[in-house]
Symmetry: C2
């Protein structure tokens, strides 16, 4: 059987010839810069067969290549086999950029096709100089729509209201704040393109994207607010709510028309707005490109959102504890696989009140699969679990009152010395970041070392970020702040959520990651300024079996004991099953009371 | 007696009225972006009376203000008293930028005067939009020359050759490397403005600036190399050396003429080149603005330079040990002051072979003076030393084979609990950075946390950078890499020198800083990449008296013991005086063998 990707490439190349372009770029994005786009826009997955969350396919008349980052190197290599795609490892020495590669493949006078709706303005601006200097043109053209026969339709899912008791701040107050921020930037109105920003701003939620409670739309905020959305998605209740708050509704595609007709108003466009929007603006002098002020406003959680996070974490913690108390004996009894235990965990979460679904596809990576950072088990790869080795389990859920993201790595049998060393290095990094105190407003780049200092001493490192914001019943990956090695200027401040998820991945052997979601909280004010710190929101024991005790300092052991005492105090009153209670009591004992494996 | 600054301000305002400008900006810089400009260019010191290394004076017809950073807040406040200048604290919330302040002081139609030679292109570009939008003009005009009667002349000091045995790489090879880097940037030639870059490139040294072995010049590197310098500064030997290597010599001011006459060549201009140079370029399209490639080449020391650093540190260490072994009993005997002990230390260094002078003005800050980060004792402030409290001593020297920079904080009597706590927090930070291992190429911003993690836990912080490069018989502050809280993208890699100098400053009480100069050395290569670490170059005991032992981890105590064993092994063979030997033996004992104070 021929790989279907080969046929699709043939259709695309035929379309390229008809359109007179010698290359075509297919990014992962939708017109809203979504990390996880609705199925309708999953063009890159369709054309390449690679289904990771990040990647760009580039096709010429005789070659095809796919760029992705270190999280996906192993997965991409497997999925691209037999597709004729070459894997381009981003941020690895010697890997050309897309523009550099295109300049080598094409000749002066050639043209590159792009669908401007699925690239940001800055992406297009970054491509242009290199191509232009090589005499290569850039043509705005959509070649996928005509060749993708069974393309999914744009979602018609209904939109719901996020109740004020969870959102904490009314749509009216949020819009007022955003208007103020727009004026501070010297503009009159802003086109909001990011779906989670629209959901946050209007206190609405949808189900257009798996795991991400957003809905496809644009929103123009100015003296008057307009929501561009397929009307079929609005229930009478939601339509009334919008009308009552003075928000007009127009069809989704009208956003493009309204931007091209904009007159006499200074427009703020987020830097990551899609390039088609930018190209439609009648006068570039009337545009201010800036970070969307909503990203920062959304990142700082209000009291109701923080209270909701605490409540959601209690329920999520109960499900996790029920799961963990079941896991080792279930594996010993036999018949469990990566997929079966993921399903079990999901079913336990489903029983929790206010549950809306997973916040991302569960990663259950057993042994060597744990070293594939964004592994998702399929029936083809699904590994049988045995009472040995490490299981990396990264999962989370959407509740009405909060979003969860937690990773635990569990020793299914007696851990080896290498597993213990690596696990303990990761744990030390996790604890150092969780304990870190810092002047309010420090960037994630300044804090990242906490998670890596000890593993660097041992010559280990990991390629992904150490932490990201988490939405409130919104996207599990949220900016603008991040904790990572490369520079992320957004300040971290009181009220922000951020994950703490160092990991280590030994290719072909095992992976370890330990992740809590943290809340940035006040610490102390001194003559040296305002200091803040973190408080773990996540409530779930950290496996003590793979800990090499001699590698922990007293302070680290105290942190772990105190975290476990907190988890026990919070969760035990919510659990009635005596076996689960017993397991939780045992798992949260002080480390000194647990014999070392 | 009237403050002389008030008369100077009057003369300047008269000149401003004559020139038709309503404000005048007087920066600290010279046309070469020198941190320490020759006396001729110390206009800001002359017009304001503030003599710190960083600061900008801005004078309007009725107000005067001086911007400086946290290192100088206390010193500037004292020096500006009675001058009518307001102190503007940079990077403190609420402090306006110079442009913001000017926009408030002036009205549309007004003009601001600047001497373009002493501002960088990016400084002028940063000023312009804000002023322009307020309708305020920017006029290139030099108002200081006409009013500064007793202005020092441009230095006529002779230039000397830095021997190849210390420089390690010939001028010819360096020029070849720089030419290659210029071509890689798509340019044909580069105008080098930074004095230490010219000194490094040509293997020449001068004495035009106190403590900085540089000479006033420009250098054009291209197919042909031209040194722009006052011919009187060239001895026949140096003139022959330059001619022999094919370097032409032209008068200093001819650099400006040659740039304005440049035809048919693409010119690379360092981003920090002075704005007058940029304004003279005939065609902006033929200019590439980039980091000077010399900064990076100079920062990575060659083998001979590293060997020279080791030799210089041995001699500097002997002088420091002679000094420290003398200090406590001299203070007990009475009559010592901040200045007298600085002089004593200088006289000990002067006796060392290859000594050329101090690398910066010694900072001897006793008790509350130690909290003034860049304090320099004057006869008016010179404090008498008593057998109590802390003395902060930051000093360094220029030797033919290397430059030193060391800070020790010494307890002259029994330290208080607060002094011990603060001293030990600084020591912990110093050790954590010195021990840090990291992937080659990490930025200083990524490493900075090492020095601050523990002090942040205690609610302490310091406002200055944690580390800077050190030149080889060149400037004691050298880029492009720095370790600090704000973002410094330059990577740190094998062969670079960098200081490790965390501090804590309790205003009105005392200051602590502990500084070694480190060398970045290979650590290990693993499947996770190439890791590097640091090796202390500085050889001098760290005072153990103020250490609160219970605050040190075992690892930290081991680091200190091992550093002290290294210092003893290196220095003891070079010391014959039995008292000094005895002191060194005692000062470098393992911590456990020293009774706690």
């Amino acid at each position: 059987m021929t790989n279907p990707i080969l046929s699709r490439l043939k259709w695309l190349r035929d379309a390229m010839r008809r359109a007179g372009v010698q290359a075509y770029i297919i990014p992962s994005a939708d017109p809203h810069g979504s990390e996880y786009p609705p199925a309708y826009w999953q063009q890159r997955q369709w054309i390449s067969g690679f289904d990771g969350s990040a990647g760009t396919a580039v096709v010429t008349l005789d070659r095809a290549a796919l760029w992705t980052d270190s999280r996906y190197f192993i997965a991409a290599e497997a999925q691209l086999r037999g597709t004729s795609y070459e894997l381009m490892k981003e941020r690895v020495e010697g890997t050309p950029t897309i523009a550099q590669w295109l300049c080598r493949q094409l000749k002066s006078g050639d043209s590159v096709g792009i669908d401007e709706r699925v690239l940001t303005t800055s992406e297009v601006n970054a491509l242009r100089p290199c191509l232009t200097s090589a005499g290569i043109g850039l043509n705005a053209v959509d070649l996928i729509s005509s060749i993708w026969q069974d393309r999914p339709t744009l979602p018609k899912d209904p939109v719901r209201i996020q109740p004020l008791k969870y959102a904490g701040v009314s749509m009216r107050d949020k819009i007022a704040k955003v208007r103020q921020a727009i004026r501070q930037q010297g503009a009159d109105c802003m086109l909001v393109g990011a779906l989670d920003e629209i959901a946050w701003l209007l206190n609405l939620r949808g189900t257009d994207v798996a795991c991400n409670p957003v809905f496809v739309s644009f929103c123009l905020v100015g003296p008057h607010t307009i929501l561009y959305i397929d009307r079929d998605k609005l229930t009478p209740e939601v339509a009334d709510y919008l009308t009552g708050e003075g928000v007009s509704v127009k069809p989704y595609e009208a956003a493009y028309d309204d931007i091209s007709a904009l007159q006499g108003q200074r427009l703020l466009l987020p830097r990551d707005i899609n390039a088609h929007i930018s190209s439609l603006v009648p006068s570039q002098e009337a545009v201010v490109y800036a970070e969307s002020p909503i990203a920062h406003l959304k990142a700082v959680k209000c009291e109701a959102e923080i209270a909701g996070f605490h409540q959601a974490m209690l329920r999520d913690g109960v499900a996790m504890v029920e799961f963990l108390s079941w896991l080792r004996s279930a594996v010993a009894a036999g018949g469990q696989t990566e997929i079966s235990v993921s399903d079990k965990l999901e079913s336990l979460r489903t029983r929790q009140p206010l549950y809306r679904g997973l916040s991302f596809a569960t990663i259950a990576g057993y042994q060597a699969h744990g070293a594939i950072v964004h592994y998702e088990a399929t029936p083809q790869t699904d590994a049988a679990l045995k009472p040995e080795g490490l299981l990396l389990l990264d999962s989370g859920a959407q509740y009405d009152d909060g979003t969860t993201d937690i990773t635990r790595t569990i020793a299914l049998g007696r851990p080896t010395p290498l597993e213990k060393q690596v696990y303990t290095l990761v744990l030390k990094g996790h604890i150092a970041l969780s304990r870190c105190k810092f002047p309010q407003g420090a960037s994630g780049t300044q804090l990242d070392l906490a998670a890596r200092y000890d593993m660097w001493q041992a010559g280990y490192n990991f390629g992904h970020g150490t932490g990201h914001g988490v939405g409130s019943c919104l996207c599990v990956h949220e900016g603008p702040h991040q904790i990572r090695m490369n520079y992320m200027p957004a300040p971290i401040q009181e009220g922000m959520t951020v994950t703490d998820e160092p990991g280590l991945y030994l290719e072909g052997q095992f992976g370890v990651r330990i992740e809590n979601t943290l809340l940035c909280v006040p610490y102390k004010e001194t003559p040296f300024g305002k200091f803040v710190g973190f408080e773990p929101l996540t409530l779930c024991p950290i496996d003590t079996l793979p800990i090499k005790r001699s590698m922990l300092t007293e302070t680290e052991t105290e942190w772990l004991d105190s975290y476990h005492a907190h988890v026990r105090a919070q969760l035990l009153p919510l659990i009635s099953d005596p076996d689960v209670r017993e397991w939780l009591m045992a798992a949260t004992r002080p480390l000194a009371q647990i014999p070392e494996a």
